[in-house]
């Protein structure tokens, strides 16, 4: 059976719920916008249902502990091809096994899920490191990012704890949405224009340029040419992240 859903996380969970409810195994799960009708199958369209999604998570939590709720969500954010089916296989395994399968690394889907989880953590960690705020005239701190995975929803706790008194915006230029923080509250926003890969210089506060220059100077001064090792440098700071790093641009 091929299931078609709306592309949201709750949608995936509702679909998984559906497979159990109907007693019909899923052979594939496809996002509605990418679905192409085929000749030889009759798809099932699943309506996203928050209550169903909650029940799946609750059941998983009961079987595998609290940790699993976060792991599944993070895996979904990886946007990797076939992630829906991986989650589905994992849930089935958990339901069919008498014991907690969360750490059964002999099972390929469990191992894969943890590996994806690790990739997500690495990307989150990179964003903690590579976000560079620029201060605008009205005191807002703005950063642009283009992460490999859709990790923006995982960033608020870190940055709220650090900058609780600041007004800041972190914007994902690849997925065209951002998180905006003001007085301990975070909102998801989307800018109207699509021309937002760089901030206009006119928007920035007077001292912004000075501090960027100082940071570049600092970065240049700490280099030890006798020890140069560019391979290691690139491993730590891959080129695709350079465009938003002040010191590398």
């Amino acid at each position: 059976m091929i299931y078609v859903y709306d592309g949201s996380y709750e949608g995936v969970l509702s679909t998984i719920f559906s497979t159990f409810q109907r007693g019909k195994e899923a052979h594939d799960m496809v996002v509605e916008s990418q679905y192409q009708p085929g000749l030889f199958h009759e798809p099932t369209f699943v309506t996203t249902d928050a209550a169903h999604a909650r029940r799946v998570l609750k059941g998983m939590e009961k079987r595998c502990g609290q940790e699993v709720v976060r792991l599944m969500y993070e895996a979904f954010l990886s946007e990797q091809a076939g992630i829906e089916m991986l989650l589905y296989q994992f849930v089935r395994l958990a339901v069919e096994s008498p014991e907690n399968v969360l750490h059964n690394f002999r099972e390929p889907c469990v191992l894969k899920l943890h590996q994806i989880g690790r990739q997500i953590h690495r990307e989150v960690h990179r964003m903690h490191a590579f976000v560079r705020f620029q201060q605008t005239n009205d005191g807002l701190f703005v950063a642009m990012i283009a992460p490999d995975y859709n990790v923006l929803p995982l960033l608020p706790p870190h940055f709220v704890a650090r900058y609780p008194a600041f007004c800041w915006l972190i914007y994902d230029t690849r997925r065209h949405y951002g998180i905006y923080h003001q007085q301990q509250q975070v909102d998801y926003i989307t800018l109207q224009t699509h021309q937002h890969h760089q901030l206009a210089q006119a928007l920035l506060t007077a001292s912004e340029k000075d501090y960027q220059q100082l940071w570049k100077t600092y970065f240049k001064s700490v280099d030890i040419p006798e020890r140069r090792n560019l391979k290691l440098h690139l491993q730590h700071v891959p080129k695709r992240y350079w465009k938003y790093l002040i010191e590398k641009s």
Partner: protein, 414 residues
């Protein structure tokens, strides 16, 4: 001529860069509602230098004026370099503004010594105090404790800083006397011992009283310069081990000597001993994380760490009697000693084997480096195939793998 902040930054960051410590982890400072920053748990490397070192902190000297004349140091009195000094306010502004833009995790402030130890330390403390109290800064602060500083100032520093460090620099007092006649071990050990006692004291108090003040919650560290003086690896590691045991240091850093002077008391080298430095870090890691004792890594017969193979593999080759290790039965501690298995893999192995016997395929998927591990383990499906092989033969075989040229590019089809 009045120097601009940028000129000072360029000079005083350049002079501070030979201090390799840049860790911002291990502290427990949470933020307040209206404060700026925190220093909890894992450190973050915000960027990396072109030699691959982490840049986590704004690492600068307050000044490179110095009354001392240590041969290995670029800021020594007799060296003909331009001198500069930051004002307290300049350091505070740089820290706050860099931190606000998420460039750094905090400040690492060291200094050349003007006038005397206390005079210098008093200024370092003043900067930390200003950051904490006026700017409600809760990011990471690492202060250098200047050897010879009074206990009172060290104590005050501990109340504001996350980490303090006193650098021993030269791994034996005898050599130190040769290259830095004005220095001695006693003036470095005194603040170190004071810190060890205070950190422990405050930690105990914190257990009883939740609101007790924190005192250098990130502990203390030190640095040893490698290759400037004739000490061997055994000497260096024994010293490090005693610092971990006696002074309860969080980290000992090893800095391969970068030739910064043509002093005749120092060796003439063109490149820093990077491989040796790397092996020392590996050995240090094995002592702190893998539960190796220092005597298992170096002894009377092995004064230097093996440069050809890493210390863990070297240990395994010296102790064929401990292998093979049965992956499905051995203790965690023993699995951790198998070359090619790291902490994460070892933990996964112990968890996964509860669900059934582990075979080679499981290990590879878990992330074990099978190429290395195969010679040292028994799995459910794999017969151990090293029994008849001599350690020396195995060593040659492993070294042989390494020498195959890495950059052979694949031929193009067309």
């Amino acid at each position: 001529m009045k120097q601009s902040t940028e000129q000072k930054l360029s000079m005083l960051a350049d002079a501070a860069k030979y201090d390799v410590s840049c860790s911002s982890s291990g502290s427990k400072r949470t933020n307040t509602k209206d404060g700026l920053g925190n220093a909890t748990g894992m450190g973050i490397c915000h960027t990396y230098t072109q030699d691959g070192r982490c840049v986590s902190l704004l690492k600068i000297l307050l000044t490179n004026h110095c009354i001392f004349d240590c041969a290995y140091c670029v800021s020594r009195r007799s060296n003909d370099v331009q001198r500069a000094a930051f004002t307290v306010q300049e350091v505070v502004d740089l820290t706050i503004n860099f931190y606000s833009r998420n460039y750094i995790e905090g400040l690492f402030l060291s200094s050349g010594i003007f006038k005397n130890a206390d005079y210098t330390m008093e200024r370092l403390v003043r900067i930390a105090k200003k950051l904490r109290q006026e700017h409600k800064f809760n990011g990471y602060i690492h202060l250098k404790a200047i050897p010879g500083t009074s206990d009172e100032l060290i104590h005050e520093a501990g109340l504001y800083a996350d980490r303090l460090s006193v650098n021993l620099e030269i791994p034996s007092e005898e050599s130190l006397k040769k290259v830095a006649p004005e220095k001695d071990y006693a003036s470095a050990y005194q603040p170190m011992n004071y810190l060890a006692r205070s950190i422990e004291g405050y930690r105990q108090e914190k257990k009883l009283i939740r609101h007790a003040p924190t005192f250098a919650p990130g502990g203390q560290s030190t640095q040893l310069v490698i290759g400037a003086t004739p000490e061997n690896d055994r000497h260096v590691l024994l010293l490090a081990n005693s610092l971990y045991q006696q002074q309860q240091l969080k980290r000992v850093y090893y800095s391969g000597y970068v030739p910064v002077s043509e002093d005749t008391r120092l060796p003439v080298i063109t490149t820093p001993p990077l491989l040796r430095e790397n092996r020392l870090y590996q050995a240090d890691w094995l002592m702190r994380v893998y539960g190796f004792s220092v005597h298992e890594l170096v002894d009377d017969q092995h004064l230097y760490l093996d440069e050809e193979v890493d210390p863990k593999l070297a240990f395994a080759l010296r102790h064929p009697e401990l292998f093979p290790v049965d992956i499905n039965r051995a203790d965690y501690e023993m699995i951790l000693r198998v070359p090619g298995i790291g902490v994460k893999s070892a933990k996964k192995i112990v968890q996964a084997r509860q669900f059934g016997k582990l075979r080679q395929e499981h290990l590879t998927k878990i992330g074990v480096v099978w190429k290395r591990t195969q010679y040292f383990v028994v799995t459910a499906d794999q017969q151990y195939h090293w029994l008849e092989m001599k350690p020396e033969a195995l060593r040659q075989r492993i070294l042989g793998e390494k020498t195959t040229p890495k950059n052979t590019t694949q031929l193009s089809l067309f």
